[in-house]
Symmetry: C2
Subunit: 558 residues, 2 copies
């Protein structure tokens, strides 16, 4: 499948692409004592962390074959085609193509079984959620290399990492490297937002080597085909681009069909206008022709194309706010209503659909976004970019947006699109991608905890136990970024004994609260506690030592 590429890349290019792949046998989890295990008949991959007390913790793993020392990977050959046989069998049996169509017919697909094991839930529950449109499994029949995952409010909150080059900078191998790097740290899906040259080739390398679903924004490539002039776009150019990408194996496509001619005037009084690339391109087209958007007019035909490949819609929020001032405004919610209409149409064509959301939103306006989206889009999964809760920290927008992402995830958003420290300033490099992914894993996991996902707290508990028992190596290995945790500890206490020390450099031995806590327990305090509980355990019986009622000066507070 990559033959076309071989001609285009130099030997040096290929060497680069090989170099960036994890070498066979190397532990890709950066120092953690972990192993890759496979669960059930479908061999669902998991990451197992081996603790010094003999126990193990099993974690969700998005890193694909690259982190299995037993597997040989070759970027030129692409990943093993896990799903090829499943798709063939469904065809042979005359089953529908899309996951939602199967679900509605009562069929539990292999993909559903796979995600059920991955999430620790029942396969029939997965089927029901997909059938209801409350969850989607983005899985193009032409991307058999991907390991199935599910996006829905009743599952673990997922995160997406955007990669892709622009006309100004970066190269194919950098983008492939970012993809493997992002999935290694926990990205559940990848979006290739390339806008420069070689869009098709960049995407080919990414899809063939990606263990996670790949999303795109087809309008970018369509615009390249008309030399960057929005007014020259047409349904025909767009349709051909869409088919090209579906054929290639893209799993979900962002389509800004909600940006209608009548919405554009609503953006004129905004502080930051239209900040979505696709949204601004379609607005420019509508304006140039003073006609309704062709994406809106031909939406039904688009559904028919996507249904043939089981490509999912990610209905883009082309009018999302680009500043705190523009949050939750008329333009944004007018588009959301249109996305609701389109959701109904997509479902009637058996196409899976999720809805994209903002953007820049102050904390007190976040919940309204989720509630309105659920109501207008009949519980279709929500997929938001952040939101950033303030505009004043360029250079730290992974944090300004991580705050909003954690909250909106708790409120019911199914997938969070990461933001890197370079947002608003430049293209992310490898370190920025890692920082963005880790920040969003934090946000997603915090949301899982707040939503009470059965498996979420086990991880926190395991790490907290390690912390309280001074099992430093376990604490490092259980953290989202073992390498960094270990490095920070060693900066001040590098010596090996410190790894077993019952204190750290923060307080030193004398002041270690946890050590004192242990002393308290060891001092036969358990019995005293029992005694105390027998006494009724109540804390507010009168005590001799009680502070005598205040005397003298002053009145009570005004």
């Amino acid at each position: 499948m990559l033959t076309g590429l071989r001609g285009r890349l130099t030997a040096a290019d290929r060497q680069n692409l090989l170099r960036i792949m994890p070498a066979k046998g190397v532990c890709a989890m950066n120092g953690a004592r972990f192993s890759k295990i496979y669960t059930g008949d479908l061999r669902v991959p998991m990451r197992q962390v081996h603790l010094s007390n003999g126990s193990t913790v099993t974690l969700y793993d998005t890193s694909g074959p690259y982190t299995d020392p037993a597997l040989e990977t070759d970027v030129r050959r692409g990943l093993p085609r896990l799903r090829e046989q499943w798709v063939r069998e469904r065809r042979a049996a005359g089953h529908p193509v899309t996951q939602v169509a199967c679900a509605r017919k009562g069929l539990i697909t292999k993909e559903m079984e796979f995600v059920a094991v991955r999430e620790g839930l029942d396969a029939e529950f997965v089927r029901q959620e997909v059938a209801a449109g409350r969850a989607i499994i983005p899985a193009n029949v032409n991307h058999p290399e991907s390991e199935p995952m599910i996006i829905g409010r009743n599952f673990l909150v997922k995160i997406n990492a955007n990669i892709g080059n622009s006309a100004v900078t970066s190269s194919i191998e950098e983008e492939v490297e970012k993809m493997t790097w992002a999935t290694r740290w926990g990205a559940d899906t990848i979006m290739d937002l390339s806008t420069g040259p070689d869009i098709h080739e960049t995407r080919e390398w990414i899809i063939r080597n990606s263990p996670v679903p790949v999303g795109t924004v087809p309008i970018y490539q369509a615009l390249e085909k008309v030399k960057g002039r929005p007014e020259d776009l047409s349904w025909e150019v767009y349709r051909d681009t869409l088919i090209e990408q579906c054929e290639q194996g893209v799993d979900y496509v962002t389509v800004h069909a909600g940006v209608r001619l009548e919405h554009v005037p609503l953006t004129v009084r905004r502080k930051t206008g239209i900040v979505s690339r696709g949204g601004s391109i379609m607005a420019a087209w509508c304006l140039a022709h003073h006609r309704e958007s062709f994406l809106y007019e031909y939406f039904a035909e688009m559904c028919e194309i996507l249904a043939r490949y089981d490509v999912s819609f990610s209905l883009g929020d082309g009018l999302r706010p680009g500043s705190i001032a523009d949050a939750n405004d008329e333009a944004q919610f007018a588009e959301l209503r249109t996305l609701g209409e389109l959701t109904t149409i997509a479902r009637e064509h058996d196409v899976q659909v999720m809805i994209e959301g903002p953007g820049h939103v102050p904390m007190h306006k976040i919940k309204e976004n989720v509630d309105l989206q659920r109501e207008l889009c009949d519980d279709a999964p929500f997929y938001t970019l952040g939101p950033l809760v303030t505009d004043i920290a360029p250079g730290y927008d992974h944090i300004t947006s991580g705050i909003g992402a954690a909250m909106i995830g708790w409120f019911g958003t199914a997938m969070l699109c990461y933001v890197t420290p370079k947002e608003h300033l430049g293209l992310p490099d490898k370190d920025d991608v890692k920082t963005g992914v880790i920040t969003y894993k934090i946000a997603a996991h915090a949301a899982d905890l707040a939503k009470g996902h059965p498996r979420a707290q086990e991880w926190d508990d395991a790490l907290s136990d390690a912390r309280f028992e001074f099992r430093w190596e376990d604490q490092f290995d259980l953290s989202l970024d073992p390498e960094t945790a270990r490095a920070f500890h060693d900066e001040t206490l590098p010596a090996a004994p410190a790894k077993t020390a019952h204190f750290c450099s923060m307080c030193g031995p004398k002041f270690c609260s946890m050590r004192i806590s242990h002393d308290i327990r060891e001092a036969g305090f358990a019995e005293k506690a029992a005694e105390f509980r027998q006494r009724g355990g109540t804390v507010y019986i009168d005590q001799p030592g009680r502070v005598s009622p205040p005397t003298g000066a002053s009145t009570s507070p005004v």
Copy 2:
């Protein structure tokens, strides 16, 4: 005042201390085109940012005289004694010592006037909030160098930066450097948590050179005096230490008087026991003597001491949860009830008081903490550490806690104690302090926005305007960290022309949504918009371009 020190420090030490002070005339805001201005008769310092379009933005400034190029500072001499005259005048007039006592007598102090200007609010409103105990102005009469600030739910959310050395690492000059560094980036108060040798000297240098209130935890120094044996602590040792620190100029003290004998058993079943240093020390004392805490028994006497200097209480949460598993448990809330009792006693002694809060709390349990604290502590200001919303990211706990901090700030917490990336792993260095402060400025400002503080959104709007108008330099200068924003932009587009370019490296010229938005406006769209609004402006009139009702396949979603 530093004579005692001169003897103790070598010439090299002094050179170091001088070196770390911002050189005269250097712009301490790291590249921003800003000036230091002074407002009103009390000369309240503000930071003014000069924009390329001729307008200015005035921001709250915590950095003190160090960022005024017109002022000469000498760490050996200490800062100018801004408040010395005010305090003297109050004494001469026979006015009460503490801000709360003055407020209750209907007196508006100079400190109240100062914070009123600083916050852009009315001085009488400030007085009422202080009188009611809903806000405090931590201002020891012996720390005249500090610029008054206020901590209360109806004012800007404040942040505290912890510094201080431990037995294991760091030195006096490092700590003084961290103090000036933290206030430069926006720390509203500083806590000196030193536990190693030279506690008194370290504190002396910090207080004399600190433009912000300084807090401490006296039990740490008391424990040093008894050679680190908690059981050897006594009220007498503690009282003498408290008086020593009040004399020296500490503005607020953390006192773990809520850790009572009867609370300790409640921690035995916890996952992470007691994680507060002070809390664990007092628990150990209670256990060793099987007696009620002397901090609790002698609380009224402590109030009399603090009242003489107008030192504020920060009632410590010695039983705060140290893990997600322990959040909002019986031990935590039992202590909070005791802090409520103590708040009443402190107020009856005319002592200002705030309440410390957690810690580690999942998002869905955060609000309960604020609501219960308000109820039990009669609206005394809440001062929380984070909270961290998950335990799984050591190395990134500025982020796990920044999420909780923003939320709890929105819910009404008055001051947020920062957490650095080194939390749980080691002592923060200068970079960690900056990262912690910037992260918490983000959290505090996001909370101000969500609470609708009148001045908060002006800042976001100014930056968003600069962004939309491609005023890159203004965008950098208005950001929390101009240096980093500029550096990130220049990584991919270093050339000077890029500073005025109507695009950036993220999308390149062809795909710049903001540029297209401008084209849309320039294309006489304003008129079209007006026309549209005349037409009734409604978005949902029937359109010819509307998608035809779906036909054929499938039923509506299950």
